[in-house]
């Protein structure tokens, strides 16, 4: 059996965040080298601040400044920093209870090795040189010998407060289409369409999935279908989608290849878009080097009777 296909898949998007009043003050504060917490109903100060009291569920808006110095409450050594982490050399992840706060803030501590960090050690913020109103305005923490730094008593009111941020996210996957679709894709490279027949209901799945979704049994028997087929239904696409390099308008159709138990999806060409119809008989058109048929064109046969394909829409 041919090797199962694999390929990288990066899922990446610049998500936007509207901050609301509390996160707006917190992040704007970092830009101004001010760390803000919020006071809860029972008098504790939470840093980072939240909008709602975790005990009473009441809305809380009493912002209080805490110091840029604090104490490590626990830590873990990071041997291999990854892309996007605060430092590119090995560092300690630390929870720091800032002076004046009752909770720990997660960040990075810049020390040469795990021997240089311990619970209870004193640390202070190393501010980033360029600050925009983001958690990265704190470059990291560094060791510090001394008592609490003086907070300025800031109220959390800022001119030109930021109200939103962009939070880019990226996930890297290794994608595999699996055994059945790998075989399907390999057959396509020989310009053949090969599905798999369900041993129970006898329907031929194209593309094959390795299992029949209605019978719940594995499929293995390979069956070549087509190359001709019938347009069972379609739409005419008039808007361009991002990342989709197809001239509009184009016809997006469900095509039941002869012998297939359900329709696959393809583009119809070789005929004006407004003359495409249900029942049109088509055949794939291949281009050199492409994995899939570029489109399907009319065969010139008479249209299929509705009764012959009405279960294959």
């Amino acid at each position: 059996m041919a090797e199962i296909l694999k390929a990288p898949l990066a899922v990446e998007f610049p998500f936007t965040r509207s901050l609301g009043p509390v996160q707006s003050a917190f992040l704007t504060g970092l830009r101004e080298r001010v760390v803000l917490g919020v006071r809860t109903g029972d008098g504790r100060v939470l840093v980072p601040p939240v909008e709602y009291d975790p005990v009473t569920a009441e809305e809380i808006r009493d912002l209080v400044e805490v110091a840029a110095t604090g104490t490590v409450t626990t830590w873990a050594w990071n041997h291999e920093p990854r892309r996007g982490q605060p430092l590119d050399t090995p560092f300690a992840w630390v929870l720091v209870r800032l002076d004046g706060a009752d909770t720990g803030l997660l960040h990075a501590l810049d020390v040469p090795g795990p021997g240089a960090v311990h619970t209870g050690m004193r640390v202070r913020i190393r501010w980033a040189e360029e600050r925009s109103g983001a958690i990265t305005d704190i470059a990291c923490f560094e060791p510090y010998d001394g008592g609490p730094a003086q907070a300025t008593g800031h109220t959390g009111e800022f001119e030109d407060a930021i109200t939103g941020i962009v939070a880019p996210a990226r996930l890297d996957y290794t994608y595999s289409p699996g055994r059945a679709q790998t075989a399907y894709i390999h057959a396509l490279s020989e310009r053949r369409t090969v599905g798999e027949r369900c041993p129970s209901c006898r329907k031929v799945y194209v593309p094959p999935r390795g299992a029949c979704p209605t019978c719940g049994v594995a499929t293995a028997e390979q069956v070549e279908v087509g190359p001709r087929g019938t347009v069972t239904t379609f739409c005419i696409v008039n808007i361009k989608a991002k990342n989709l390099d197809i001239e509009v308008p184009y016809v997006y159709a469900h095509i039941a290849l002869d012998g297939a138990g359900l329709a696959l999806h393809g583009r119809i060409g070789g005929i004006p878009y407004d003359q495409v119809r249900m029942g049109l008989r088509v055949v794939p058109v291949w281009t050199e080097g492409a994995r899939y048929p570029d489109h399907y064109r009319p065969t010139g046969e008479p249209d299929a009777e509705y009764e012959t394909y009405k279960e294959l829409l």
């Binding site: 898949l9 994608y175 739409c235």
Partner: protein, 388 residues
């Protein structure tokens, strides 16, 4: 032992808009939840559990947002569950919450669903560049448009029916202060002149992209007896699912939808939905789904749904009003959309629907679907408690 009857005693939602830039996700859900509590005249301490739903996490890019929303929803120290069934999630979330009351696990449950679509792009989230696959599809409209054409072919419906639905729903939305789209100058001619995006679906026959949240307080008989306003009683509720694509799937009228409705009607003792149900709030993201679901839900025989729409039966003043709130066509915070349908059904039988109230509505169906017509959730609510 019989089930505990379930009552809706509080309903709250945000004013749905394209982008709520003034609030965080926590602030958005809080607003709807607080309004539901206010409606029920309850406090956070009166809530025993929280059940929250939303569509895929890619729609905001916050993984498992329910974790950070626990304090905004007063869930600290209480059970909190998150439900996900694609576009139908608002409905199935309410049903999970209702089942907790019906099973007497909890007395009073807050249920909430939301989407803040402005933080991402749903079209991106639904069309990831999967390796080895041929990119062909242009959004959800491109997926559903061929099914609409199949419905038209099957029933011989005239091609104007879709525009009638859009014109009706957008006018209903003008009576609903929470609806996203308020198109005061809407005319049928404007709908029919709007551009074809995915022929046969026109721009004006598609749903908007919204930020919004919807919440309900569900409670038992004792809770209902204390409620300051009339409760809505759940008479039946069900969920069904089937694969997105399989050989023999009827995408126009999916079997899972038929089975789900039949289960609800059996629980509620509904023999003839067209006669026994006063109004329907159904999930219609593209206008043609109104006649399609009318058939799927048993309000019309196969091939006859469009005739109800065309003859005005589904208008607000008609014999079977559909989507009194303005529907998904006027408001679509995806994860919340199903719950807004369920909540509108409850508002109607409570007599609390304001300008879009159907006079004398006693039994109203709320309906949601999601995925590629793959997940279904429905409930029937009534102004009187269940018989048994």
């Amino acid at each position: 032992m019989s089930k505990e009857p379930v009552a809706v005693v509080g309903v709250g939602q945000t004013k749905h808009v394209a982008a709520r830039r003034d609030v965080s996700i926590a602030g958005l859900v809080r607003e709807a939840a607080q309004r539901a509590l206010d409606d029920a005249e309850l406090t956070w301490a009166d809530i025993d559990a929280v059940v929250i739903g939303k569509a895929p996490d890619f729609f905001e890019g916050v993984m498992m947002p329910e974790l950070y929303l626990a304090d905004a929803l007063g869930a600290v120290g209480k059970p909190m569950l998150r439900v996900h069934t694609a576009g139908s999630v608002g409905g199935s979330t309410a049903l999970v919450a209702a089942n907790l009351v019906a099973a007497r696990v909890h007395g009073t449950v807050l249920t909430l669903a939301f989407e803040k679509q402005s933080e991402s792009n749903a079209m991106w989230g639904l069309s990831l560049p999967i390796p080895f696959q041929q990119p062909l599809l242009a959004g959800a409209g491109g997926f559903f448009a061929p099914h609409v054409r199949a419905y038209m072919r099957r029933t011989g419906a005239p091609d104007t029916v879709g525009s009638l639905v859009a014109y009706k729903d957008r006018r209903n939305a003008l009576k609903n202060p929470y609806a996203h789209l308020h198109e005061h100058d809407i005319t049928l001619e404007k709908v029919q002149a709007s551009p074809m995006l995915w022929d046969p679906i026109r721009y004006s026959e598609t749903c908007p992209s919204s930020d919004g949240a919807c919440a309900m307080v569900l409670t038992d008989r004792a809770g209902a007896a204390r409620a300051p306003r009339p409760p809505a009683w759940m008479l039946g509720g069900a969920m069904r699912s089937e694969p997105t694509l399989f050989a023999g799937k009827d995408a126009v009228s999916p079997q899972a939808g038929k089975d789900c409705a039949a289960d609800v009607y059996r629980q509620a003792g509904i023999a003839d939905p067209r006669r026994d149900i006063d109004a329907v709030e159904m999930y219609v993201p593209f206008s043609w789904y109104e006649p399609m679901w009318l058939e799927n839900l048993g309000f019309a025989d196969e091939g006859e749904g469009w005739k109800l729409t065309e003859s005005g039966v589904t208008e607000l003043g008609g014999d079977l009003p559909v989507n009194m709130s303005g529907g998904v066509l006027s408001t679509n915070p995806i994860g919340a959309s199903g719950m807004i349908r369920f909540a509108e059904a409850a508002l109607q039988v409570r007599g609390q629907a304001g300008e879009h109230q159907v006079e004398g509505a006693r039994r109203v169906l709320g309906h949601a679907y999601g995925g590629g017509s793959q997940f279904f959730s429905m409930w029937l609510v009534g102004s009187e408690p269940p018989q048994s």
